[in-house]
Symmetry: C2
Subunit: 405 residues, 2 copies
């Protein structure tokens, strides 16, 4: 297939490009490189030294003989160029990663809130409008988030996107299937909730074939393909905005920094290893809905864990210390989470679960590049409200860390 | 109260400004005048001759002695100016009409889709982010639409925004209240569905006090205030994009144009007279939620009617002919609609229902200005999809109108 990978230079985008190229697909990376600009803005960098996208593509060609095509294009701002691009290349499938993806970044200041909404909503909507306008029947696979479901304890498993409900009518109860009621916990998560409504409309009105992947928190860094050459290495974020919880614990352990648990650590979240993430995209691509079908929604995760349990596990393996800090987020202190992921299992996904070997692999990567870490950028300090901001301690080395335990 | 009325130059915005000014409030109109620009773009004009906003404000001052303050500002594009404006004026309440509000316009071309999404989402989100940033605890009253509920027959009354559902859990059924599952039928309606999620998040995360008015189709043109001087007249749209169904029937009757029913006319919709619309905004303003409360949602409508019944009623009063035309929209041919509006009734709303006298008043207005009508702009021709577009007849005078009956 000819596959356009929007946001193909990012953390999940890049290994997905390599994976699909290795499967024999013609891969086109469409990216505005905004993630690299945000690194510049924040003054942080990937823990792993990351080459330019052009250089990465050159190395892949050298290693495998396969071409990755790169197109610099801003989905959110360049609607007419997007349309021209689609009309010229007419992809069979599109994988859409091209959104600002960090909750803490989206809550940093009002400018970051506005940027995240404008960028993410316009990117997704431009794509949908352009697909209709160019009359391209490509299967669109979008990277969403488990966060659209919210993290309150519902006492029932989270289904894959749709909820069966009963409504009282004058003639008795009536069963109905609805999009799972959304309860996003950050501006970033909110944009993925908005995306769901855009998808629902365009599938219904225009028959677009759309799959939405509600992904858990990705951990790990290597896939089989990124391992093939040092310059194909995946980006690896350790900073308080873009680093995600489990990877951050592993990095903190590697550099002798306390494992920073926010609040009680009773937050339960869904996880998936990067290797499974790229495999899920492949499986989803092969399982396209028909025209006129509702949006297909997968829960793209393999296991759930409580944050404090993860911290204790990493501490046990590495000997690191665990610190309980004030939570910069506005969220339930504790929640249960049971998630259905039957669809990917039925399609043949074999989950890579939290094994000590894989955890240690990440610690090894972190140790190898530890000299590149700016310790002052490790704490997560973007607060969800001004009030919360005053309670969040900014001391990078934990000397004055306030404890909530 | 000092009240900012965003979009205060529009069809419901303007009479709302006058109504609230007449109640003694300090009224600030904030508008980018985009609706006037769209008239220019489409080459149509309000049936009623409409003065500039500055002139309208001058007349109001002359007639009543009250000042209407006008501020030219683009909510969607001028975030920093919006923030400055809020910080300077610190309104006690904000009424937000500032969105592109025509479904057919939003479906006209891909450019119109993109404009509607960008404009509406950014306007609403900019406002929310700016309220948080300036730390202004104004009650925000937003004009939404009944269309967020969708128009399928659910066999149960549509509640006011929230639905009580039951979820299966391992320990039995569990009751939960959720936002009514949204099913918007156009890009325009979709933006109001997106707004709901923005409101939910900002009420929850930042304690913003928000009321969302799910309004039905507005009909009529005069309010007590617009009647006070010829130059205070409200705008009155008759064209196929901005004209709304009942008003269009009345105008068509006035100029001897057939009443154009799309599809079978079995669509059931909710209606409200413009006089009640401005009164509802007043009632909602006085009934603000507390900080931390969920978004308050009212169904702002007074009655429901089937489109073909309205056409027959107008035909009976006026002797006009009814024509059944292909439907440019993608929607259910027939639907039931029962709507709860208990909250406004409890607050004292006395509904102005479809009375022959009021219907005739609109016909009289239309006859008075009939010489301003471009008959070729009367048909609704913006089609929801390209396929539907090929079936929609564009002949303005009905000579070649295809019948679906």
């Amino acid at each position: 297939m000819r596959i356009a990978i929007l946001g193909g230079d990012g953390f999940v985008g890049w290994p997905t490009c390599l994976h699909l190229s290795a499967q024999g697909h013609e891969v086109h990376i469409v990216d505005n490189l905004s993630r690299r600009w945000i690194d510049t803005e924040l003054g942080v960098q990937s823990l792993t030294p990351m080459d330019s996208i052009q250089e990465r593509c050159r190395i892949w060609k050298q290693v495998t003989g396969e071409t990755l095509h790169f197109h610099l294009l801003d989905l959110a701002k360049e609607y007419e160029r997007l349309k021209q691009w689609l009309a010229e290349y007419r992809p069979d499938a599109i994988v859409h990663f091209a959104e600002q993806r960090a909750a803490p970044y989206s809550m940093k200041t009002d400018r970051h809130k506005v940027y995240t909404v404008t960028n993410n909503v316009n990117a997704t909507h431009n794509l949908l409008a352009a697909l209709v306008e160019t009359d391209i029947d490509a299967h669109l696979v979008h990277l969403g988030t488990m966060g659209v479901y919210g993290y309150s304890s519902v006492g029932a498993p989270i289904p894959e996107g749709y909820l069966d409900i009963e409504i009282d009518t004058p003639t008795g109860k009536r069963a109905q299937e609805v999009l799972y009621p959304t309860k996003p916990g950050s501006v970033y998560h909110m944009t993925k909730s908005l995306d769901q409504i855009l998808f629902q409309f365009y599938a219904q009105n225009d028959g677009l074939r759309i799959t939405d992947l509600h992904q858990g928190i990705v951990w790990g860094t290597h896939t089989d393909q990124t391992r093939r050459h040092e310059q194909l290495v995946n980006r690896f974020d350790y900073d308080g905005d873009y680093g995600t919880v489990l990877n951050r614990f592993l990095i903190q352990a590697a550099i002798g920094y306390p494992l920073t648990v926010h609040g009680t650590g009773g937050q339960t979240r869904a996880f998936i290893h990067i290797r499974d993430s790229v495999r899920c995209v492949e499986l989803a691509l092969d399982d396209a809905p028909e025209r006129g079908e509702r949006v297909k929604i997968f829960n793209q995760m393999t296991e759930t864990h409580r944050v404090r349990d993860l911290a204790e596990l990493v501490a046990k393996i590495t000997g690191a210390e665990v610190k309980y800090l004030p939570n910069p987020r506005k969220e339930a202190a504790e929640n249960d989470l049971i998630v259905k992921n039957d669809q990917f299992l039925a399609l043949g996904l074999e989950p890579t679960t939290l094994a000590e070997g894989l955890l240690s692999e990440v610690v090894e990567v972190a140790k190898k590049y530890a000299h590149r870490i700016d310790r002052s950028r490790v704490p997560a300090v973007s607060a969800w409200t001004r009030d919360i901001g005053t309670r969040v301690d900014r001391d990078p080395e934990g000397r004055a860390l306030k404890s909530v335990s």
